[in-house]
C-alpha cells in the first residue's frame, strides 16, 4: 500500500517535471542544439581539420561523446536547480511537503525529470552530430548507457542540492558558471589528457568530469584516458555521496521548512 502511494507520487512529480521542460522547450531543448551545432562547426569542422586525429580517431569523432556529455551535464543540473528553486520561490514545494511524500520520492521525481531532459538533449545532440560525422559507432552499449544515466543522475542531484541552499536565482547560476563550466572544459571534452605535461595529467585526474567524459567516450569509440572501472567507481561514489547529502537536507527541511 505504502509503496504504491510512493510510486504514484513519484510518477506524479516525474510527469510534472517532464511537462514543465516540454512546455518551455524553446528554453530547454533548442539552446543545446544550437550551442552544440556551433561547437561542431567551430571546433570540429574549422579547427578540427587542422588538428587531424586525436586518440587515433578523426578529431570530429573524438569530440562527439564529449559534447554529448557536456550537454547532459549542463541540462541535468540546470533542469533540477531551476525547477526546484522555482518551486521554493513560488512556495509550491509546500504542495509536496504537506503530502505524505518522502524525501527519497521527491529526489527521485526531480532527478527523473533531470534525467529525462538530459537524455532527450543527448538524443538531439547525437542527431546534430550526424550532420558532421559520417557514422557514429557504438563500442560498448552497456558502458555508454550506464555512464550517461549515472552522470545525469549525479548532476541532477547536484542541481537539487544547489537549489536547496539557494536564496535567489543568482545562487543557482554560480555553480554552473564558476565550477561546472571550467571542470567540463578541462575534463577532456576537446582533448586527450595524454597531451598534457605529466604534472597536469596528475592534476587533471582530480577532476571527476574527466572520468565521465572518458567512460562515455569509451562506450562510443573504445578509447579512454582512464580505467573504465575506476571511472564507473568514481561516478557511483559521487552519486552515493550526493544522494545521501540531498536526502539528509530534505529530511531536515533545510531551506524549505521553518
Amino acid at each position: 500500500m505504502r509503496s504504491s502511494i510512493s510510486y504514484i507520487a513519484l510518477k506524479t512529480i516525474w510527469i510534472k517535471e517532464c511537462t514543465r521542460f516540454l512546455r518551455i522547450w524553446i528554453q530547454t531543448l533548442v539552446p543545446p542544439a544550437i550551442t552544440m551545432t556551433l561547437y561542431f562547426v567551430i571546433f570540429g569542422s574549422i579547427v578540427g581539420q587542422r588538428i587531424g586525429e586525436m586518440g587515433g580517431r578523426p578529431y570530429m569523432e573524438f569530440i562527439v561523446p564529449g559534447l554529448i556529455m557536456m550537454a547532459v551535464i549542463t541540462n541535468s543540473y540546470a533542469n533540477v536547480a531551476s525547477s526546484f528553486f522555482s518551486a521554493k520561490f513560488q512556495r509550491n514545494i509546500e504542495e509536496m511537503l504537506v503530502a505524505p511524500v518522502s524525501p527519497a520520492v521527491i529526489i527521485g521525481g526531480y532527478v527523473g525529470g533531470g534525467l529525462a531532459r538530459a537524455l532527450l538533449v543527448a538524443c538531439i545532440v547525437t542527431l546534430v552530430s550526424f550532420l558532421f560525422v559520417s557514422q557514429v559507432s557504438v563500442h560498448n552499449l552497456l558502458v555508454l548507457v550506464v555512464t550517461v544515466v549515472l552522470t545525469s543522475t549525479l548532476f541532477s542531484l547536484g542541481g537539487l542540492i544547489n537549489a536547496v541552499y539557494a536564496r535567489s536565482f543568482d545562487d543557482i547560476s554560480i555553480v554552473p558558471t564558476f565550477v561546472l563550466t571550467p571542470l567540463t572544459y578541462l575534463g577532456g571534452v576537446f582533448f586527450s589528457i595524454s597531451l598534457l605535461p605529466d604534472v597536469w595529467q596528475t592534476i587533471a585526474q582530480v577532476n571527476p568530469i574527466l572520468y565521465m567524459v572518458n567512460a562515455f567516450r569509451f562506450g562510443f569509440l573504445g578509447i579512454s584516458d582512464v580505467s573504465i572501472t575506476a571511472a564507473l567507481g568514481v561516478i557511483i561514489g559521487f552519486n552515493l555521496i550526493l544522494f545521501i547529502t540531498a536526502y539528509t537536507l530534505l529530511k531536515r527541511g533545510v531551506g524549505i521548512r521553518s
Binding site: 506524479t12 509546500e94 511537503l97 504537506v98
Partner: protein, 315 residues
C-alpha cells in the same frame, strides 16, 4: 473522537522569537472551529506545525489519533490545507494543479481526473480547467486552493484566511460551500480576520495571542459573556438640525454622532426598551438601528487587551 489534539506545543524560531508558548487545543471531529488572533499571534505557526510545514520545538500533535512524530504519513493523509497565500505553480493549468496534488497523496491519475471534475464543478472552476492558474482572478485562485485541498478527500480541512481579499458575494458563496462540506462530515478549522465569518460559520472558537491560547470555548458561550453592546440609532431627518443634541436619555451612556445620529451603550441588564420608551416620550422617531461593531469583535478586542495588561508585580 478528536480531530485534533495539541498538548504543550512550543515553537521558537532560529532568531530566538518565541511564537508558541506551550498551547493545548482540542477540536472534536465534525466541528467547525475558528482559530482567531491578531497578526503575529501564532495562528499560522500552529497551522504550519499541524501540516508539517514548520518544525515544532516541543509538544505533541495528533490528528484523528495519528501522532505527528511517529505516524506522520497517516497524519498527513487526514489533512487538507488551504494556505493564506497562493502557493501553486502559476504556469500550470487548473486541472494539472489539482490532479498533481492528489497524486502526491497516492490517488491514481484516472481517479484524480474524475474527482477533479466533481470538485472543480462544485467550485465553478470547471470551465477554467485548461487555463493557466496565473490567468485566474483572485477569487478563482482562492477556490482553486480549496479544490486542491479536497481532492484527496481529507477528514480535516484547515483554511488559513480563506476569504481574504474576496468580494462579499463570493465570500458568501464560499461560506455556503464550507457549511455544506462540514455537514457532510469534514471537520473544518478556520483562521480569519473577518469575525463576522467566525460568528456565522463556527461552533467553537479559540483565541490565541502572543503564543498563548487566551480563550477556548463555544461561540454561543463566548457571546453570552458579552455584557454591553453599542447601538447606532438614526433619527428621522424631519426632526430638524440639532435634534440629536437636544434629546435626553437617562440611565444610559450615549453620544451624539451628528445632527440625526446617536450612539447608545446598552448593558445586558438594561434592555433596549427603556431607550425607545424615553425617545418616544420626547416624540423622537428612530428610522433605523444597527450594532456599532460585530459582537464577537468587541469580545475579541476585550480579551486581547485584557491578556496584554501588565501583570501585577508581587512584593
Amino acid at each position: 473522537m478528536k480531530a485534533l489534539s495539541i498538548r504543550g506545543l512550543t515553537k521558537t524560531y532560529k532568531g530566538g522569537h518565541v511564537a508558541l508558548k506551550g498551547i493545548d487545543l482540542d477540536v472534536q471531529a465534525g466541528d467547525f472551529f475558528a482559530l482567531l488572533g491578531p497578526n503575529g499571534a501564532g495562528k499560522s505557526t500552529t497551522i504550519g506545525i499541524i501540516s508539517s510545514l514548520v518544525n515544532k520545538t516541543s509538544g505533541t500533535v495528533s490528528v484523528f489519533g495519528y501522532d505527528l512524530d511517529t505516524q506522520l504519513t497517516d497524519l498527513k493523509r487526514q489533512i487538507g490545507l488551504v494556505p493564506q497565500e497562493f502557493n501553486f505553480n502559476q504556469f500550470e493549468t487548473v486541472q494539472q494543479i489539482v490532479v498533481n496534488q492528489a497524486g502526491y497523496y497516492g490517488v491514481p491519475r484516472e481517479v484524480a481526473k474524475q474527482r477533479s471534475e466533481k470538485y472543480l464543478k462544485q467550485l465553478s472552476l470547471w470551465d477554467k480547467r485548461n487555463a493557466p492558474a496565473r490567468n485566474l482572478s483572485g477569487g478563482m485562485k482562492r477556490r482553486l486552493m480549496i479544490a486542491r485541498a479536497l481532492l484527496h478527500e481529507p477528514k480535516l480541512l484547515i483554511l488559513d484566511e480563506p476569504t481574504a481579499g474576496v468580494d462579499i458575494e463570493l465570500r458568501r458563496s464560499m461560506w455556503d460551500y464550507l457549511e455544506a462540506i462540514n455537514r457532510q462530515g469534514i471537520t473544518i478549522i478556520l483562521t480569519t480576520h473577518y469575525l463576522e465569518e467566525a460568528e456565522s460559520l463556527c461552533r467553537n472558537i479559540a483565541i490565541i495571542d502572543q503564543g498563548v491560547i487566551i480563550e477556548n470555548t463555544s461561540i454561543k458561550g463566548l457571546l453570552a459573556t458579552l455584557n454591553r453592546e453599542t447601538f447606532i440609532l438614526d433619527l428621522a431627518p424631519t426632526m430638524g438640525a440639532g435634534a440629536a443634541a437636544g434629546l435626553q436619555l437617562e440611565e444610559f451612556q450615549w453620544r451624539v454622532i451628528d445632527d440625526h445620529t446617536i450612539e447608545v451603550d446598552v448593558e445586558k441588564s438594561q434592555g433596549l426598551n427603556r431607550v425607545f420608551e424615553q425617545l418616544s416620550a420626547q416624540a423622537i422617531k428612530v428610522v433605523s438601528m444597527r450594532n456599532k461593531a460585530n459582537r464577537l469583535e468587541e469580545l475579541f478586542v476585550d480579551l486581547v487587551e485584557k491578556g496584554r495588561q501588565p501583570a501585577e508585580v508581587g512584593a
